[in-house]
């Protein structure tokens, strides 16, 4: 045992396994585990009855519905357009590609409030884009459509950046082989390319979905915040906090945390299966 440890130790590229593991554990505890545990501890002050009463209140339920449904639609949209974008960036050469490629990450860097304010200005019925739709009687800002657009905006980099490296590694010879064997374009995509990018797409989908569910900063400006219509769950948490009802807020947060975790876990399981199938 000791011998084996020594041998592997010598082979490591980054020296100091105990130190690096220590730092890893400390980091994970400080920034993930302890805050998460504090949510659970804080919510555990509540009796089960009170907990259920809080999270099943009519406004809270509708808040969950708005957050989850909009985030789901946004993540689906992101999957479709994420694949197209990643494909274009990997397979084609065109002037300005590097700049466009860099711009994809802007939603990560931009303060979410800035994104929210500018999206609202654009999509309100007085804005550039919103005014065009307003002519046809379609309202975008201050509706669920607006919320979804904000979530698409903040989620798109996750999908593109997850799929890009997979496509880069993907050897065009497979496509050639498929063509030689008589597969048409659509069949090649469905049978050859899609299974290859599916795991990455699921990762991107999961991340975009989780980000959308929890998003506050950008959505708050474009949502009309009308109770039972366009009020998102994170806003309800904020409004509970403002009334200094910390346990109520954590109860709502806990449900979001658990659901998000379950979604990510489920996606992980599907992903493992998908990877098994392709390799």
């Amino acid at each position: 045992m000791v011998n084996k440890f020594k041998r592997t130790k010598r082979r490591r590229v980054i020296p100091g396994f105990p130190l690096s593991l220590g730092i890893t554990l400390a980091m994970v505890s400080m920034i993930v585990l302890i805050p998460m545990a504090s949510i659970i501890i804080c919510a555990s002050d509540l009796s089960l009855y009170d907990f259920v009463k809080i999270v099943m209140a009519k406004d809270v339920r509708s808040g969950y519905m708005v957050s989850f449904s909009c985030a789901l639609i946004a993540a689906l949209i992101n999957c479709i357009f994420g694949v197209i974008l990643a494909w274009v960036f990997v397979r084609y050469e065109f002037p300005g590609k590097r700049i466009l490629d860099g711009l994809i990450e802007l939603p990560f860097a931009l303060p979410t409030a800035v994104a929210g304010i500018s999206l609202t200005a654009l999509y309100s019925d007085q804005g550039w884009i919103g005014s065009i739709f307003a002519k046809f009687g379609i309202k975008i800002a201050y509706t669920k459509v607006g919320i979804t657009i904000a979530m698409v905006f903040i989620g798109i980099p996750f999908v593109v950046r997850a799929i890009q490296p997979v496509l880069e590694k993907f050897d065009p010879q497979y496509e050639e082989a498929a063509a030689m064997l008589g597969a048409n374009g659509r069949k090649t995509f469905i049978k050859v390319i899609f299974p290859e990018i599916l795991p990455a797409m699921l990762t991107g989908f999961g991340l975009a979905l989780a980000r959308g569910i929890g998003e506050y900063g950008s959505v708050i400006f474009i949502a009309g915040n009308i109770p039972y219509k366009t009020q998102i769950a994170p806003l309800l948490i904020m409004s509970k906090l403002e009334q200094l009802k910390y346990t109520d807020a954590t109860a709502i947060a806990l449900v979001m945390l658990v659901v998000s975790f379950l979604i990510l876990l489920l996606l992980n399981i599907i992903q493992v299966h998908a990877t098994k199938r392709t390799t």
Partner: protein, 342 residues
């Protein structure tokens, strides 16, 4: 040798982290001998006023004591600001939208009881009221609260559960309906429900609502703080009009010293001076120039060409005080929640 150097490296990392952690925890005493800094945690629309006031106060304090005082400002929704102070944002002074928010800091043990009597006029050096801001020409012919419940009128006001200003808006509307229906609770409720049915965007704060109305062009009428409405007029001349309703509420934004913090940072004296100077002629005029109604009646008269002084105003006392009003109207399950579940 290599092993030794590795240990030194590990050790130095640990030492560095520990030292870094410890210095982070070091206490912050504010005052060196000739300069003091204090923090004033305030709400959204006071930004411009305190910017100007801090300059005046620094001049006054320098003349009086020879010390240089720097005031750090913080602005945001009133409730949010109160919470940040409770959670440890070290404010020497709070100047918030409603007494209720300061009471919640008091309940957290940071402000001593009796703060409301510590300064003149319920610790409100300036007051404000609620008015309507409409687009130039007033197309929908909005004159009073009763016009806000008409079909097709689009109203912008923030959510009272997250905005202090919005509580005043709600209560003014209620006061009007109360007068109109001579206290008939069902009819008052219907009136207010109808009004909120006409609200298309319920922002989380007063500034957000102004942005929605002004920058994003939403709604026909914004229910706003009087000073916020005047600021908008100043920034966009000839685009908006202010309509004063027949009944409104006397909004008394309160000020207080956060005793706990001021004691710890030894800033009690300068904090007291800062709030008292708000009542001086200089402070009062500055408030007036920034469209807050000075609480000194003499100076208020100087601004009679700006403010509509004949407006009929109810006060929070008519609602039984803030704590009661908050309990009845804005708590979870209170009247405001009920009008949305109806």
């Amino acid at each position: 040798m290599r092993k030794g150097s590795k240990k030194v490296f590990t050790l130095s990392v640990v030492v560095l982290l520990t030292v870094g952690g410890l210095t982070g925890c070091k206490g912050n005493s504010s005052s060196s001998d000739d300069s003091i800094d204090i923090t004033n945690v305030s709400y959204d629309p006071t930004r411009e006023f305190y910017e100007a006031y801090n300059v005046e106060f620094a001049k006054y304090y320098k003349d009086k004591t020879g010390k240089k005082v720097t005031v750090t400002q913080s602005h945001g929704g009133s409730g949010k600001q109160a919470r940040s102070v409770i959670e440890g944002n070290e404010a020497d002074i709070v100047t918030l939208a409603l007494a209720h928010d300061i009471t919640s800091i008091e309940e957290a043990g940071l402000i001593e009881k009796g703060w409301l009597e510590e300064f003149d006029k319920n610790s409100s050096p300036y007051t404000s009221t609620i008015v309507f801001l409409v687009r130039k020409g007033n197309e929908k012919n909005i004159k009073d609260w009763s016009d806000l419940i008409k079909d097709g009128v689009n109203v912008i006001t923030p959510n009272p559960k997250t905005s202090g200003g919005a509580c005043w808006n709600f209560l003014s509307a209620w006061a009007y309906a109360d007068y109109l229906y001579i206290g008939d609770e069902t009819q008052i409720r219907n009136f207010v429900t109808k009004l909120y049915k006409n609200v298309s965007v319920l922002d989380s704060g007063a500034r957000g609502a102004t942005t929605t109305f002004v920058e994003n062009g939403q709604g026909d009428v914004l229910i706003a703080w009087e000073n916020e409405a005047y600021l908008t007029l100043e920034e966009h001349p000839d685009e908006y009009e202010i309509i004063t309703p027949s009944i409104s509420i006397l909004a008394e934004p309160s000020v207080a010293i956060v005793d706990d913090v001021a004691k710890k940072r030894k800033t009690e004296e300068v904090a007291k001076e800062y709030l008292e100077y708000l009542y001086s002629d200089v402070g009062q005029r500055l408030a007036g120039e920034n469209y807050y109604r000075p609480s000194n009646p003499e100076i208020l008269k100087e601004f009679s060409d700006v403010f509509n002084l004949s407006i009929n105003m109810v006060t929070i006392a008519d609602f039984g005080g803030w704590d009661k009003a908050y309990e009845v109207y804005f708590q979870d399950g209170g009247v405001f929640d009920q009008i949305y579940t109806q």
